[in-house]
Symmetry: C2
Subunit: 671 residues, 2 copies
């Protein structure tokens, strides 16, 4: 799966803590939890991946209505189910604001002051734009600070579920088949956006093509890829390879094991943990693939060559001495970032930031998140907009409130499980005698402390959160809520860690900006900027590849699906839903199911529409093969492939498996 | 499960790399892979846990004959299947050799020289004993060096499988129920020992009691518990808590995730990886529980109080100043051990040593193991016996050859999987630019290098190993075998790491010996020594306990088993084998199945017989509850419980589920 990516939180008010969809008005693209999507009807119908919608499916499900397991289809609009905290943002315009942002950072400022000046300028630009246009306005850093663009989004926060297949079918083959090919996944999910209680009228939506693309056909992809590392220095990539990514893999492994063990104890446990487990497994596989690419000498030499070429050009020109120095500045700043990383990760913000913000690593769970958001929302509110942390600026207020006032269920046992584990992790990392660990545990074992915090807090109650949100710091303190007290207590050390971290990031930003300017001089914009969760158009040819001497063909079909299930005796994760067994004879088994193309995609492209030359929807990207994970750091079309669901398969199954003819009619209605 | 424990390898020639069973001639106890067992008939019939026999079940299974999944019963002796490399050792006598061992370590020797002198004295004692008695002779370190005993074992290496249930039944409830109670596991496995091709005649075996113990009954337990940490200093336990055990958990998590993901891809993958996955999950759960105990302030204060009491007594006596200093020596040595630990673990010997030696952490798999054993066997052979590494002394030769010439199948894909992961782990730990990493990877990616090594080596072939074993270092080198070349190449740095490690362990040993002498003076032998994989007798009362305010009763029965399966819709790991569904009406459902007692047990006690006052077999220990994991570092009978299979359940199921009346007849034959 291509969602669940890290987002660079430092300068972009991505607010990735809250699920949202982005769409561009012309070539619609969407994002949710780091995913993409598209409008596919005039009545606000939006198509994205099941795994992008999963966070919402999980939140609107209960023990009685398990939409994740059983799927969902609203035959009428009245039956569509409102998401608890999903927002959809449609990109309306972009504007270059580089000069204004950089102009605010006067030469000779200390890193701290430069960072503050830059943040203040960005906040001011966003605020002015919001006030002028009413649109959500985000300043986005491109080329590691080489360019700043203002993105304006139309925002929808009434988003309703229309259709989802069984997760079993959306994620057929489960973790073993994730990032693999050939595949047989119906990884789709339809939502509808509403305005004033009515389906939104959408002018620019994609025309549906029920046949899908042909082999060798050129296709276009729009989406919001999350983050790539292609402009990073060799030093920084080496640090990622040898330290950072292995460190992330450690936490993904730890959580996968914990959630898996707990899930096995009962069906209800499994249901509660499903989305998180899914995310951890996806991240683990993704970063396993990334690290494998970085340890591949052939790839590494290409990365070194790319940098060498640029550095050689810089070295030839004596005027470019400051640019040469930029590489050293990045290296030095990175050393400081590595030093502060444990404290930053454990008490301020776990990285990589993954789908569904889970708080700092030491306090995994929903309740601490609410505690911190409340504490900080109130503290930050008292400051001028430009001085605030990005996620508490006026431009992000609506998203913050959507997140804080979410009605998603909170389960005590699940909160205790995760908090116990993360407090243990914290104590293991710093040792039981670390003063902060001692204060956090308050003389109790991690488990006893987690029980005390979860049982004692009232933050489960939306009304309680809403009430406190309207009040002040004194009221928070007077609530004597143990989770709020913990969030308050760790806030100062957490902010201190963030301050050190952000100052070094600012140094890096300036240095990368310097390098980016030289790269422009040498290459122009012939290389596109690193991905930043914002709109990117790409293209690719539908074509197979060779693996271990074997030719992998471009398409799979329904026949292959039934074969695969038979080979695995229909056992999980290769089992078919009963509906698919019953309806087999209804299906044209030679219908194309999934296909691969050589489009340049990355995590965040999940849900990206694949469009043919006529501008018609022919498929939806949901994954890359394992060889595509190299795309994080360098482009290659040798084996790297994007994996899509064919529009022919969607049409066929909606009609003949899910009895959703009205949905097909809406998709295929004349424009 | 109580097997799969770490073994302290430094001074004890435990040779835990090779599976073996230990039994004591009077109160028989057995061990395999760190487990125990007992003789239960005059014809060599031995009972242990299924999970203790699992390593052998795995090795004698194939895609066609899957004894792990399907179970096994030899209706006749001719049908009993010979283990590939299982040995069974019966303890015949013990002798105090403390004076002779310590006498060899002259005052003023350097740690290196002291370690060598001690090793040489031990080797000499073992060799003399072996020559005199023909028995396997091991010198065992007790009380961390306070006492040395010579243990003599009669050794059986023709061990055949008689009966095993389906693993599904032996490990009913799987990982979620492991270390939990109430339980419903038939964790048993019968082997028979042979001499000269005939069933061995056993004089001292346990009389079978088909009724099992009563509630509140006093019972006795014999077994070979693996390792406890009860004599460790507070400093060393704190290091275990904050560094060592979390580090182990990291590798268990990593491997569990890897093996689980691979297992899910096909039934055959799952079969190949089953035993290893099982071991990793068991270790993970065990050390999770241990770390939770160490982070419990109540337990930690008891540990501190225990040490404080002894140190106060020492401080009161000015003559005991050297003993006070011993604590500092341990701390200082431990610092050095921590410093060398990464190199030691990755290239010399992964700790904790778990069931089925898997080589150093960087080279996980069977083939590297063979490479190293060959290289070292030949190098060490050239030295005087007393100067050799413990596992290559004459006294261990038979076990070494059993291991090296094992006919267990080796699967290329499984070897490549594990070697790729462990080479990646190695590169992550030391960085891609580490000189040793570079030399090991030889300019290739971890995967490419693993493929090259596994595909290129001939070490899969037993005849090749046997042939080289008879030759010399020159012949090994002339073989130009890539895996042998790798093993040769890392041998020097590995031995260097071991030398540093062992010298510090020697310092600790002397210091712990000093402390142990003072403890004797204060407490006598009222506290038993830490477990060392050797015989220990324990006792316990059959009784339940309270958990979260709820009373957990002592016994479960077959009715509870069927209920549990129904609650989980008979889905894995709570599914019943078809045989158990078909035979339900044959069974007396009120038959007691599992029970708990407050015996002091620890990893390695797996398979320990539970014996009543009349000396009759009434049950077999297979696990402890999660609260029992505290027993590693301190005794408690509040909630800690050993979990056993009731002899009544064994009798009932052999008769009415497995149609094994002849086996019941043998068990219940008059003595």
């Amino acid at each position: 799966m291509l969602a669940d990516v890290q987002s660079s939180c430092d300068s972009i008010p991505t607010n990735s803590r809250c699920s949202r969809l982005h769409a561009y008005r012309h070539l619609p693209c969407a994002r949710n939890s780091g995913g993409s999507g598209s409008f596919v009807s005039a009545n606000g119908l939006t198509l994205t991946n099941h795994h992008v919608g999963l966070d919402t499916l999980q939140k609107i499900s209960s023990q009685e209505h398990n939409y994740v397991r059983d799927g969902f289809y609203a035959k009428t609009q009245a039956g569509e189910v409102k998401a608890t905290d999903l927002e959809l943002n449609v990109l309306m315009s972009t504007e270059d604001v580089t000069a204004r942002v950089n102009g605010a950072v006067k030469a000779g400022l200390s890193p701290d002051a430069a960072s503050a000046a830059r943040a203040s300028a960005i906040a001011q630009i966003e605020k002015e734009s919001k006030e002028k246009t009413g649109l959500r306005s985000d300043v986005v850093t491109l080329y590691q600070g080489g360019v700043y663009h203002l993105y304006r989004y139309k925002r929808y926060d009434d988003v309703r579920l229309v259709f989802a297949p069984e997760q079993q079918m959306a994620f057929y083959g489960g973790d073993p088949d994730n990032f693999e090919y050939p595949r047989f996944d119906l990884d789709i999910c339809f939502f509808r956006v509403y305005e004033n209680g009515q389906p939104a009228k959408i002018e620019n939506f994609l025309k549906w093509n029920s046949r899908g693309p042909g082999d060798g056909e050129l296709t276009f992809v729009s989406g919001s890829p999350g983050k790539t590392d292609r402009q990073l220095t060799v030093d920084e990539l080496a640090d990622k390879r040898d330290r950072e990514v292995p460190n992330w893999l450690g936490i993904f492994n730890r959580r996968e094991v914990m959630l898996n063990a707990w899930s096995q104890r009962s069906f209800e446990n499994a249901r509660r943990a499903r989305d998180d487990l899914f995310g951890d497994q996806n991240n683990r596989k993704r970063y396993d693939g990334y690290v494998a690419a970085l340890f591949d000498p052939e790839i590494w030499m290409s990365i070194q060559a790319r940098e060498q070429k640029l550095r050689a050009a810089i070295a030839r020109d004596p005027k470019l001495r400051p640019t040469s120095a930029a590489y050293d500045h990045i290296k030095k700043a990175q050393t400081e970032i590595v030093r502060i990383a444990p404290r930053y990760d454990y008490i301020e913000q776990e990285r990589p930031i993954t789908v569904g913000y889970r708080g700092p690593r030491a306090f995994y769970g929903t309740l601490f998140k609410y505690g911190r958001l409340l504490i900080r929302a109130i503290d930050e509110r008292a400051k001028p907009n430009g001085n605030r942390i990005a996620e508490f600026r006026d431009s992000a207020r609506e998203s913050l409130e959507l997140d804080l006032f979410s009605t998603s269920p909170v389960y005590d046992d699940y909160e205790i499980l995760r908090l116990t584990d993360s407090l243990t992790d914290f104590a293991e990392k710093f040792g039981a005698n670390d003063p902060l660990v001692k204060q956090v545990l308050a003389g109790k074992s991690p488990h006893a402390r987690a029980v005390e915090l979860v049982s004692g807090t009232k933050l489960k109650d939306v009304a309680f959160r809403k009430d406190l949100y309207t009040k002040n710091a004194k009221a928070l303190s007077a609530a004597h809520d143990p989770m709020l007290d913990l969030a308050r207590f760790v806030d100062e050390p957490a902010r201190n860690a963030r301050k050190i971290h952000d100052a070094q990031e600012e140094i890096k930003k300036q240095a990368y900006g310097e390098i980016a300017r030289r790269r422009f001089a040498a290459e122009g914009t012939s290389n596109y900027p690193d991905a930043t969760f914002t709109l990117r158009l790409s293209y690719g040819t539908v074509r197979g590849y060779e693996e271990d001497g074997k030719q992998i063909s471009s398409f799979t079909n329904f026949e292959g699906l039934y074969q695969r299930a038979a080979e695995h005796e229909n056992k999980p994760p290769f089992d078919l839903p009963q509906r698919w067994i019953d309806k087999k004879s209804n299906l044209n088994l030679s219908t194309k199911f999934n296909f691969v193309s050589d489009a340049d995609i990355i995590g965040g492209n999940s849900g990206s529409p694949v469009v043919n030359k006529a501008g018609e929807f022919v498929g939806i990207i949901f994954d890359g093969n394992i060889q595509s994970l190299v795309l994080d750091c360098i482009f290659s079309d040798k084996q790297a492939r994007a994996v899509s669901v064919d529009s022919a398969a969607i049409t066929e199954t909606l009609r003949n498996v899910y009895d959703a003819q009205p949905l097909v009619d809406e998709l295929t209605a004349p424009k």
